[in-house]
């Protein structure tokens, strides 16, 4: 390469040590890639990054870049120090929705890599924090070309800005025995119902769907999503008593008591004298701990469904919020069940779009207006599974107590009749 190579004494320190180095990777693009454009972009990027390391400041600014027909999916980046680092002056990221569950063939990864080196920097991340494939670094013009090419073979942009964002689902039924739901179907049903809201930001702020197949919640959906769908079951958990006894025989009683029996959050487990396991299923909260310890002996029940929580988010603006249960249990088997799920999501998003303030997450709106007003807005009845304790403040008006109590008894009677 004839051009001047930026010196990177600080970044070079990150080539030392046993963990794979991203700096070595960018240098490979600079020194070994066959395309001079990519060599130049990598050199320029390393120069700017070294400058950041020296001065301890970032030098990218946003802007407006999108592809034709969309208003979302690109993170525009223009360099504030472009004069010194010309070739990475425009360095936009494309957020691309991965296949649900993040499955790829090596052929598909190669195809994506080939398209990306035609138009981009050659740097990519599987995946960003929201769950997108992050194609990091291309010019305004090539953003469109790259999108056109991958869109032809089945990939579409994800969300950025105040819109429905790319979803996430765990490995789930494809490989995990704890899965209580068809995560991929839930993920795709919801996301692809809101495609318009992904591509055209018109909501108060971001809205995230995340799907976990069980309450281990590997997708952190309660903490990190506005709409969390988590697999669960409502009949008895399954116990293979012989397998459990084998486990006790191998590990010992003390281990079993210390690591399984006494760790149950609702004291629903008991070790029988013959080393079989007794489960108080009525008081099991499906926390997954004992199933995690002895997956060979303990499994979810057969009557599977999902729990739905609304309003998880991080700090900005009012502080961290966990999601809140709004549907304790919902079957998700046939077409009708999935339609009911989609309708609920539409109700939630519509109500929030109408009532949320600018830059206010759904959970923040619930905090501001109260859960009951929100539930009335989306047409969901209150349920004691939605709370961890009842009201402690007596400063409240309860004028319609009798009417509300009657509603509860009528609903209970209806449920009894239905079952």
């Amino acid at each position: 390469m004839a051009k001047k190579v930026h010196l990177t004494p600080m970044l070079d320190e990150l080539e030392k040590g046993p963990w794979p180095s991203f700096i070595s990777g960018i240098k490979r693009l600079r020194d070994e890639h066959g395309d001079e454009r990519i060599n130049g972009v990598a050199n320029s990027l390393l120069g700017q990054l070294e400058h950041s390391y020296e001065t301890r400041k970032g030098y990218w600014k946003g802007g407006t870049v999108s592809v034709y027909g969309y208003g979302s999916g690109i993170i525009p980046r223009f360099s504030e120090v472009a004069q010194a680092f010309q070739e990475s002056r425009e360095f936009h990221t494309l957020r691309v929705q991965p296949p649900a569950g993040n499955y790829y063939t090596t052929d598909m990864l190669r195809q994506l890599g080939d398209s990306w080196e035609k138009f981009g920097s050659g740097l990519v991340t599987f995946h960003g924090q929201t769950g997108n494939i992050m194609f990091i670094g291309t010019s305004t013009e090539n953003t469109q070309h790259f999108f056109n090419e991958i869109n032809e073979y089945g990939f579409d942009l994800g969300g950025a800005g105040p819109c429905v964002r790319t979803g996430m689902s765990c490995v789930g039924a494809a490989r995990c025995e704890q899965s209580c739901a068809d995560e991929m179907r839930i993920h795709r049903t919801l996301l692809n119902n809101f495609t318009d809201d992904v591509h055209r930001p018109a909501l108060p702020y971001k809205f995230k769907f995340k799907v976990s197949g069980c309450s281990n919640d590997c997708m952190s959906s309660i903490e990190r999503s506005d709409f969390a769908i988590i697999g669960t079951w409502r009949d008895d958990m399954k116990v293979d008593q012989q397998a459990f006894k084998d486990y006790v025989a191998k590990k010992g009683r003390q281990h079993t008591i210390d690591n399984i029996i006494t760790r149950c959050p609702t004291k629903a487990l008991s070790l029988n004298d013959d080393d079989s396991l007794e489960v108080d299923n009525r008081n099991c909260v499906r926390c997954m701990h004992c199933l995690n310890v002895v997956p060979k002996a303990l499994s979810p029940g057969d009557d599977k469904g999902v729990t739905i929580l609304i309003g998880g988010k991080r700090t900005l603006k009012i502080g961290d919020l966990m999601g809140t249960v709004i549907v304790p249990f919902m079957k998700l088997e046939d077409e009708e069940d999935f339609e009911a799920l989609t309708e609920l999501a539409e109700e939630v998003i519509d109500y929030w779009a109408e009532n949320g303030l600018e830059h206010e997450r759904c959970g923040e709106m619930v905090e501001r207006i109260g859960l009951v007003n929100f539930l009335e807005g989306i047409g969901v009845e209150v349920d004691p599974n939605m709370i961890s304790e009842t009201r402690t403040s007596s400063y409240v008006r309860m004028d319609d107590w009798d009417i509300e109590a009657k509603k509860w008894f009528d609903r209970k009677a209806g449920q009894k009749k239905a079952s």
Partner: protein, 356 residues
């Protein structure tokens, strides 16, 4: 925009087409799993078929040449089917158990790190930092690389009482999310305002609305419409910077790292928990941030020595109490650890439950 191509709004692609045939065939029919060795999972279906997974850590910011190398390994030693975990590890799935050892060997030969399963220190989830973010207080990839260099044996082995998820974030918005240990930027001074630029760049009412403590108000400065910050009220969160970059919050000296512990996404045993502050004022010290790594290592070692099997960091602290946590880790407990945000009284001890 004549002649422009209309996008195909295909949304989220179907994962089945890229899924290993054994996984497709046994979808929803898995019976149990075993952990033959760190970094390897074996799932057995009710049909009797099994699938092996080999998990490897990478540099996350992948160059296409490295991506191709990972694909080559997948074609030569595995069966051409991969996926990525939420923490950006690559997973190779093979139906033939005999392929596992040669696959591990091939990955390790190329410098990838096999591990990250069960009670290991998982790959640190991270954000973009100086490489790509518009509001980064620090770099993420560099912090993670430096830290993983030191934690690599705990990634490769099952050394911890339970799994440990570490996260990093380059600003207080915390895109890195909740972790058993989180290393996040904490700004320590209010933003410095470039009053010449505010009127041209910022939509002032939305900047005012963005402040969590109502410390920003419109003002005329040197005859120009601008914004001013009540510096006594300001919590230095940086929330005004994204919508108004002339309110520069990043600063080479006053941008520090803070460490939080006990965030846990899982419902196993206890309900999910948020991470809590344990250390702050740590120098933002590129290229290798040794001060932050030293504290993380100290916390990990203490947790490893003292926690019981299956206790996540949050479970362990819940059992031993905060006074003991600070005693064991030798970190200072200060007035800044006492929360004063909304609902903070719930975090105070309203009992006589005290360990002596």
């Amino acid at each position: 925009m004549q002649g422009q191509r209309t996008p195909i709004e295909s949304g989220c692609p179907d994962g089945f087409q890229y899924m290993h045939p054994t996984m497709r065939k046994n979808y929803g029919n898995w019976a149990y799993h075993e952990d033959p060795r760190p970094g390897v999972l074996k799932h057995t279906s009710r049909s009797g078929e099994a699938i092996y997974t080999v998990r490897a850590g990478t540099q996350r910011i992948l160059d296409v040449l490295t991506l191709r190398k990972l694909c080559d390994i997948g074609d030569q030693y595995a069966e051409g089917y991969v996926r990525f975990t939420i923490r950006s590890n690559i997973e190779y799935m093979v139906a033939d158990g005999n392929k596992v050892e040669p696959l591990i060997e091939a990955l390790e030969k190329e410098g990838f790190v096999v591990g990250g399963t069960k009670n290991s220190v998982a790959m640190i989830s991270h954000t973009q930092g100086w490489l790509h973010c518009d509001i980064p207080g620090t770099d993420a990839s560099g912090v993670v690389k430096s830290m993983m260099d030191e934690l690599i044996e705990d990634f490769k082995g099952w050394n911890m009482p339970n799994r440990v998820h570490i996260t990093t974030s380059c600003c207080q918005i915390n895109c890195g999310g909740q972790g058993d240990i989180a290393i996040n930027i904490q700004h320590t001074k209010p933003p410095k305002i470039n009053h010449d630029l505010v009127a041209n760049i910022c939509e002032r009412p939305s900047v005012v609305a963005r402040c969590p403590v109502a410390a920003i108000r419109p003002a005329l400065v040197n005859g120009k419409p601008s914004l001013e910050v009540d510096e006594k009220k300001c919590i230095c969160c940086g929330a005004c910077y994204p919508p108004c970059t002339p309110m520069q919050i990043n600063d080479p000296e006053n941008t520090k790292l803070a460490i939080w512990v006990g965030g846990n996404h899982s419902n196993a045993r206890s309900k999910p928990t948020f991470q809590k502050l344990v250390a702050a004022g740590i120098p933002n010290n590129p290229p290798r941030w040794p001060e932050a790594t030293a504290i993380v290592k100290k916390i990990l070692q203490t947790y490893k020595d003292n926690a019981r099997d299956w206790e996540r960091l949050s479970d362990w602290i819940e059992r031993i109490g905060w006074p003991q946590f600070f005693e064991l880790t030798e970190l200072p407990f200060t007035k800044f650890h006492v929360d004063n945000w909304r609902g903070a009284r719930r975090s105070l001890n309203a009992s006589t439950h005290i360990r002596f």
